[in-house]
């Protein structure tokens, strides 16, 4: 396995009084694409949000490039090189599409080299180009999803954290996003994502984590997929 970029050990997290994560352990190697699988409500989103530092009620260790992230304030996590695309997309309605796109500052070290230039982004998502002056939330659901991904690509993060990137997207677009992720991978980007669309996931991921009840219950590379179908069946009901 490549040199680890993100190491999570014994991570616990809470929403108020409800204990959601019960000791998550995972490692993401540099340049890897990892997919977390799991049924609705097992804590996938929570895992991503906790790693990102949005959920502050947490215990356990999160190391990014070897650096302990426990006390890093939220607005500094992006500086370390983490980029997040939330499940609900988070498009700003008072900003135009282009303003949305330009919003996140390029903050990570060396981000400028990794950052995807604007014309490349527009080439990738022509819808966005066409609607670039309309308010962000006037986009359709799928267009918003594209915008949310595109927005992060422009900042040149090291680790891209995606929460269900294909939800609500037309098959052509899903395909296109798959291609984008492959391109990014070639450029050395690391991706950690949660995905329900199993077929899509199996096409882009190098490795899977299987989650149940706030814990990782299995971890295997894509090559082992055929042997693992039974476990998957049990845990996911695929």
């Amino acid at each position: 396995m490549a040199k680890p970029l993100l190491q999570v050990s014994n991570l616990n997290a809470w929403y108020g009084e409800s204990h959601i994560l019960h000791g998550v352990n995972m490692t993401v190697g540099e340049g890897e694409t990892i997919t977390i699988l799991g049924r609705n409500g097992v804590g996938k989103t929570t895992t991503l949000r906790t790693i990102m530092g949005i959920i502050r009620e947490r215990k356990g260790e999160i190391r990014f490039s070897g650096k302990d992230m426990a006390n890093v304030p939220l607005h500094r996590t992006a500086h370390a090189g983490l980029g997040f695309v939330p499940e609900e997309r988070g498009i700003f309605s008072t900003l135009t599409v282009e303003e949305n796109l330009m919003l996140p500052p390029v903050v990570a070290d060396g981000g400028r080299e990794r950052a995807m230039p604007l014309d490349e982004i527009y080439a990738l998502f022509p819808n966005l180009h066409e609607r670039r002056f309309s308010p962000g939330t006037k986009l359709s659901g799928g267009e918003q999803q594209m915008l949310a991904i595109a927005r992060i690509l422009r900042t040149g993060v090291k680790l891209l954290i995606l929460d269900e990137p294909t939800e609500g997207l037309a098959p052509v677009i899903v395909q296109r996003i798959g291609e984008v992720l492959k391109t990014l991978k070639e450029r050395g980007m690391t991706v950690l994502m949660v995905e329900q669309n199993f077929r899509f996931a199996s096409r882009v991921a190098d490795r899977f984590y299987l989650m149940d009840h706030g814990k990782m219950v299995a971890d295997f590379p894509v090559s082992e997929l055929p042997q693992r179908m039974d476990t998957l069946h049990k845990v996911l009901g695929v």
Binding site: R39, G41, E87, E88, S134, S140, G168, I173, L236
Partner: protein
């Protein structure tokens, strides 16, 4: 099951139709000249690329948006100028693309809120809440239909995303709608729920018309009788799934090169 047996196998007939439906947002024409006929006892799918105008069509049909041009007829009545709550009372009920439940009510209460209206129990401020207990049987029936029995007394906010969607369907069914509009009912749902929900939709469609937007093509192939493909606000193709999926333009604009 929620559906009485004698109602099965009803004849299809048009219950909701739109003619020349158009909607522009400023200079942007989101929906142009769409004709749609939704039939009783049928599942009709509305598919198309993102931004094609599917949700907008839904908003127009349910009157959450006022069309720029065109007319809409529900059960023989022109509803082009009717308010959304009135349309809902006439039997046209929708679900939302982003999940819509009453978060701090229990699952049971969510369903009962929906049941209150058709049962004439919504404006009685002089009755105790226990008056609503007479809705419990029907509510439990619905909850069981969608498989939420275990979560019956849970607070809706505590449900996972997929379970919320299921609950939403239960509340929608509670109104016993004649026409059901579902906006991406499977979005964000795990495989196990997709199966359940497909079955529910198939089942309820035996006695009512269903129009759904869905990107999950296996579901569309599986349960939909009729498919309309929308692109850039216009109808690109229409027909059953087999026909539509062979259409080269549809493959190019929407389905991509893979198989469904």
């Amino acid at each position: 099951m929620a559906v009485p047996a004698q109602d099965l196998h009803e004849e299809p007939r048009v219950v909701l139709s739109a003619r020349g439906l158009s909607k522009s947002f400023g200079a942007f024409l989101a929906v142009r000249d769409v004709d749609l006929d939704i039939e009783h006892a049928r599942v009709h799918a509305l598919i198309g690329p993102n931004g094609a105008g599917k949700t907008t069509v839904f908003n127009l049909l349910t009157k959450f948006l006022q069309p720029t041009a065109g007319s809409i007829t529900l059960l023989g009545t022109d509803i082009t100028k009717t308010s959304p709550d009135k349309v809902a009372r006439m039997g046209l009920v929708r679900s939302f693309q982003i999940s819509a439940v009453f978060p701090h009510l229990t699952v049971l209460d969510n369903v009962r809120v929906a049941l209150q209206r058709p049962n004439g129990l919504s404006t009685q401020f002089w009755l105790p809440t226990s008056a609503l207990d007479r809705l419990n049987d029907r509510a439990d029936e619905l909850i069981e239909t969608v498989g939420l029995k275990r979560e019956r007394n849970a607070i809706a906010a505590d449900l996972s995303y997929g379970r919320k969607r299921v609950l939403e369907i239960a509340t929608t069914l509670a109104l016993d709608p004649k026409v059901l509009l579902l906006d991406e009912p499977m979005a964000g749902m795990g495989q196990e729920d997709i199966g359940t929900v497909s079955n529910i939709i198939r089942e309820v469609a035996k006695t009512r018309a269903v129009l759904m937007v869905e990107h999950n093509l296996s579901v569309v192939a599986d349960i939909c009788h009729q498919v309309t493909v929308l692109q850039r606000g216009e109808i690109l193709a229409e027909g059953d799934y087999a026909t539509v999926s062979k259409d080269e333009r549809v493959r190019l604009a929407y389905m991509g090169t893979e198989d469904a």
